[in-house]
Amino acid sequence: MDLVYLPYDVLVEILHGLPVKSLIRFRCVSKSWNSLITSPAFINFNLTRSHSDSNKLIVRYVDVTPHVERYKLIHEDDNDNNVSSSSEQTQDLKLPLRSSRSYFQLVGSANGLFCLYEGNRFIVWNPCIRKFITLPNPSVTAEFSCYPAFGFDSRTNDYKVVRIAYRSFTGFEGAKPPLVEVYSVSEGSWRVTSGGDSYPPKITMSDWPQQAASLNGAVYFVANDWGDARNLIVLSFDLGDEVFRLISLPNGKFRLHADARVFTSEFKGLLSLICYESWRYSYCIWVMEEYGIVDSWTKQFNIDLNMEEWKVLGFWKNDHVLVQKIQSGGLMLFSYDHVTLQLKNLGFCKSTGCSYADKYVENLVLLDKPNDVVSKEESEQEEEVKVKRFDSSIQLKISAFTFLSSILFLVYARYFCVAILKY
């Protein structure tokens, strides 16, 4: 066959039609294919395409023995209505690193990426390319509580980890504004922002911290407003301009101390609230139809399921509700169609606690980042280095102190001598 050179645009078009696994393999075709596939423009474009395929769900849960976190991919076939989860439909995804405790805490997920942490160690993991990065240690230490969040800013095509670190007791008044530190995946570093300046007074985080939803280039926490209104309120942090904003909830519906638990989520691409009303064991879903317009909060539907120990996790496939039910030995996942009121079984996880689920998105993000193979020894070595650095900084401070005091001594001695001579 004759050699045919396809125009660059056409080649890009063909490659955009390939699944992530093929793209990773075809980096080996040639240098130019490798640099094309790992270029930021290609990675970003690939992401916008993969959003349409949302029949896959990634579930995170904590296993019974050993007590470690596990990830599972569930593929729901539209044509199959009586789902009994067979092996074709679920697939285990291995987190390529282990927490030094039993499992990582979850910051959140966005576009198929997971952000995890333990103490000051933050990780961003892309399950579909089996790659993760460990972030450098943040510089701000929280004297009191710290609330992390993770999200995607489509204006800059960047993923950001946000840490909101409170420096004083966050009691009723909200006290001192927190320090806000942001890690940008594209910049590769943490930065203390002036975001704290925009922190509204008399606002504290919700008593039941849950992953902050991320959409529209911002992250959304449920917060308490201790001002005159004494309501629950949504506190957003914009990942673009790095400013806090408040979004009021429907008037009078969400009083503080009311027996309702509220979480933020995304429903049909809109900011939504999942509200658990414990007095009637049911959930209701509110949606902000027009972003930023308080009057546009609309109650969508109630979810009353005739079973015990169940919880709404979120939404997928546009408007299906993800539900988990705790039962002996683990938990059962369901997809609930609020129109037909049908409950579809998505499978069982041998788990002790609550699970987390999000739609699975294939993307190439992190592919262009240097490889991260932090083993346990390496992280220990890192600790040692830090201790050494700490030692040397103390030494430096001590020597600076000695130096300054000797100068002071000399100045005084001179003054003393002059005084004696004068005398």
Binding site: M1, D2, L3, V4, Y5, L6, P7, V10, L11, E13, I14, L15, H16, G17, L18, P19, K21, S22, I24, R25, F26, R27, C28, V29, S30, K31, S32, W33, N34, R130, N371
Partner: protein, 182 residues
């Protein structure tokens, strides 16, 4: 400016347009078909703007970058495409189903290697629907194939320095699992 419309009316099927390929074959096609080839349409638009007589059966358009073999296939594809569109004018979903069905059948008669030839022709003629379809077809033809197959398919050679490719293969060994035999 003349009162003449900028482009010939695609609904009138009386007009024929003659296309001449690089290997000197002549194809007479209906105007609606030719107008799907944006390069040809552009030619007409330019002619119209220059007030030259056009849209008559005498027009002959040379296509120096297209051979007769891919052009014949493209014309068949285009005719079918228009026919399916006309049959399902008020039902987009039905149209997509019919189109998918036709494209599946179409690919049964086309060798994967022929696709590159078709892509080059569709790209030159700027026939968007066909180009998209052929690109998708190539993607699905190669997605489970080996790196060696893909190099052969696109006529490429590895230009990695020794060790570079091996390192990539080692790092992403999982992406080489379950690849089809060449």
């Amino acid at each position: 400016m003349s009162n003449q419309s900028e482009s010939p009316n695609p609904t009138s099927s009386s007009n024929k347009i003659t296309l001449k390929t690089s290997d000197n074959e002549v194809f007479e096609v209906e105007e609606a078909v030719a107008m799907k080839f944006c390069t040809v349409k552009q030619y007409f638009d330019d002619e119209n703007n220059n007030n030259v007589t056009s849209g008559t059966s005498t027009t002959l358009i040379p296509l120096p970058n297209v051979e007769s073999h891919p052009l014949a296939i493209l014309i068949t594809y285009c005719k079918k495409h228009l026919e399916i569109k006309a049959n399902n004018a008020d039902n987009k979903k039905e149209m997509e189903i019919d189109m998918e069905h036709y494209e599946r059948e179409f690919l049964k008669n086309v060798m994967p290697q022929e696709l590159t030839e078709l892509i080059l022709a569709a790209n030159y003629l700027n026939f968007k629907e066909a180009l998209d379809f052929f690109c998708r077809a190539v993607a699905s033809a190669i997605q489970n194939k080996s790196v060696e197959y893909v190099r052969k398919f696109f006529g490429l050679e590895s230009d990695f320095k020794p060790g570079e490719e091996e390192k990539l293969r080692e790092e992403f060994a999982w992406s080489f699992e379950g690849v089809d035999e060449d």
